[in-house]
Symmetry: C3
Subunit: 281 residues, 3 copies
């Protein structure tokens, strides 16, 4: 798992006066800077049959600042070679698609709102703090062979069925995903392309999120030293108040410890920033 | 601990339309087949004194499909040789008695209702998901020496006091248990006999469950291959709608992984079935 | 972590009739003796940067008799040499001050009400079962060098700022702590002195707890055998119903296992006693 802690600034901290909570920028309120933190303990329990099939489950105990923790909904899987079947709190095809999380780990320390994820969670995804699709007949099949990867997932949530296909040519990865569901705000289709220009790694992502509008995101990452990189994004949202953009830095201290921080202008118009320490264990 | 996942069919899935939940066969509803799963993480924490007394506690995080998890009530114990004292979320004498769980692990993948447990949980037992007798002055004493085992438990739940004595002669185990409580539906007494006829392991169990009626269960297990066995049971319940019966198979894949499945005709008249994978970790 | 279990007697067990619960001595009720227990699992997750800074988090799953468990609020820290910064569910300066817990581990098995802690929790402290100051901008800085230790903590709870300085001269430790807050019942200042007279370790502690009154506590510990010690305390509370006092014994069984028990006359007038086993794991 990992831990992270630091400070979070929000130009408008919402009615609760605490930066980084769900009510930021809801109503007209003052700015605030507050302690932010997350503790994530990941438990991967597996067994391997004589024929080499790995069977297992994953649960997490994840708690943010001001939260206690319990285990989330479990994801179960059976895996053999490049083939995997999962049930329960599934990963979800769209959320697992290359290019949906083009920023390394998270923008800054905390992700700062994840405006740079094109499909905007309008589909099934693994929930680190809740049930996700556990109890919802969540099922998924994943297959990878060489440069090809395919992922199909389905659940009873709005009868979602989603899938993606990705292929890598000489360092560039192209992915296309689509979804059928009963929810008009769910992602219809999405496409991404990512690779390296030498000086920078870039990703371009587009998603048609139905009644939630189209989103286009361009992202870049630059090394600015032996142990430091910077990342930037620009996100355009159909009907959005502003063009979103953000920048962050990550400085590796070795031993799984890093300093991180970032600033983002949210699509909704709010400005947020964070800085702190992340460590893996 | 262990994990298991697969599918569960119920002829009548109840008002929630989900097979394998508490409301199955309550009211007139359609059948359903749904994902079933369980994740159980067992934490046994112990220390041993210089004199060789082992002192410890057990807690579990257990969560079924559609559930998050927290630790259950703890059981504490001190053990020396064949003698053990336990407090808290105690095992309970009747639930620990040989012959009450005559099916290996569970019928099929999930137990399919456990109609084959003669005392039908009308006594104290370890709760994997709740408090059990923690907070209820649950206390138990267990003793075993050679072929003899004795277990006495007590709690403030209906002022229960229960005990069993079991003895094994040349491969056959006979056990008798009795209980005193303030609850007219609690088990009065129960007796079991189990052993092997070579071709099959069989268990016969009877319980006088007070106002909940008598139950008689006959169970058999047969090896049907080097790594496969089958189990069957017939259960007769005083005042029951039907004679209950069931059959399952268990196929060992090695490494603690097994394929399992079963079908049962419940005493209440419902038909249920399951199939899936179980793995130990 | 550790576990402990045994029995707890309360002269007046309160309306719930269970000894050792919050309502003991509230109203006129009968005495009771009940099973008491605690299970504490401590998770310390850390990483160390190349420069030797240790970064980490601590969470606990703690559950008493009659409780299930989840993780508490997390405390995060970065530590380098004798210098440490903590955020979240902070330890708190006053609660960490030498002399506030003058009894080894707890009086008897359970602490028996902790009347011997002079500052009486009128400040910030690490919560083993809840959030503590997580979500409350809890921050603390600790520094130690040789015989000197300093600790300053702050949180948004009543805008508390607290600190202590402690110094050790030839086996005697002197500490002074003070706090500023918006709560008239919070500790204003506190001082302790502790050391050894050869035959006994003694601690004298005083706290001005604002509108909650002054408290003065004198404590002693005596070895009464190779593996056994006894402890006594006398506690005087401004406006208290009685002078509080207590005595306990601790008998080490090796391997992290000990027998413990004690009796206390509470300042509120109630008499309580406990006895049992504690084990570390």
């Amino acid at each position: 798992g990992y831990g992270r802690f630091g400070i979070y600034y929000s130009e408008n901290a919402g009615a609760d006066g605490v930066a980084g909570t769900a009510d930021d920028f809801v109503g007209a309120f003052d700015s605030s800077t507050d302690v932010t933190s997350r503790f994530r303990l990941q438990i991967d329990a597996t067994a391997e049959s004589d024929a080499g099939v790995v069977v297992g489950a994953r649960v997490r105990i994840q708690q943010n600042e001001g939260e206690t923790g319990m285990t989330n909904g479990a994801r179960f899987f059976a895996r053999s070679g490049g083939f995997e079947v999962g049930v329960g709190n599934i990963f979800g095809a769209l959320d697992s698609m290359p290019g949906q999380y083009p920023i390394d780990l998270d923008l800054g320390l905390t992700g700062l709102g994840y405006d740079y994820t094109a499909y905007q969670f309008n589909g099934d995804f693994y929930s680190s703090g809740g049930l996700g699709n556990s109890g919802d007949n969540g099922v998924e099949v994943m297959y990878s062979a060489g440069d090809l990867s395919v992922h199909v997932s389905a659940s009873d949530t709005d009868d979602r069925v989603a899938g993606y296909v990705a292929y890598t040519w000489s360092g560039w990865t192209f992915a296309v995903g689509a979804q059928d569901s009963d929810n008009a705000g769910d992602t219809e289709w999405t496409a991404t392309a990512g690779g390296s220009f030498g000086i920078a790694d870039v990703t371009l992502a587009y998603a048609d999120n139905g009644t939630n509008g189209d989103r286009t995101v361009l992202t870049g990452r630059f090394d600015v030293g032996a142990a430091t990189d910077m990342e930037v994004y620009v996100a355009d949202q159909e009907g959005g108040a502003d063009t979103g953009y953000g920048v962050d830095f990550n400085h590796d201290l070795g031993g799984g410890v890093s300093l991180r921080g970032g600033v983002a202008k949210r699509i909704n118009g709010n400005t947020v920033a964070d800085a702190g320490v992340r460590f893996n264990f």
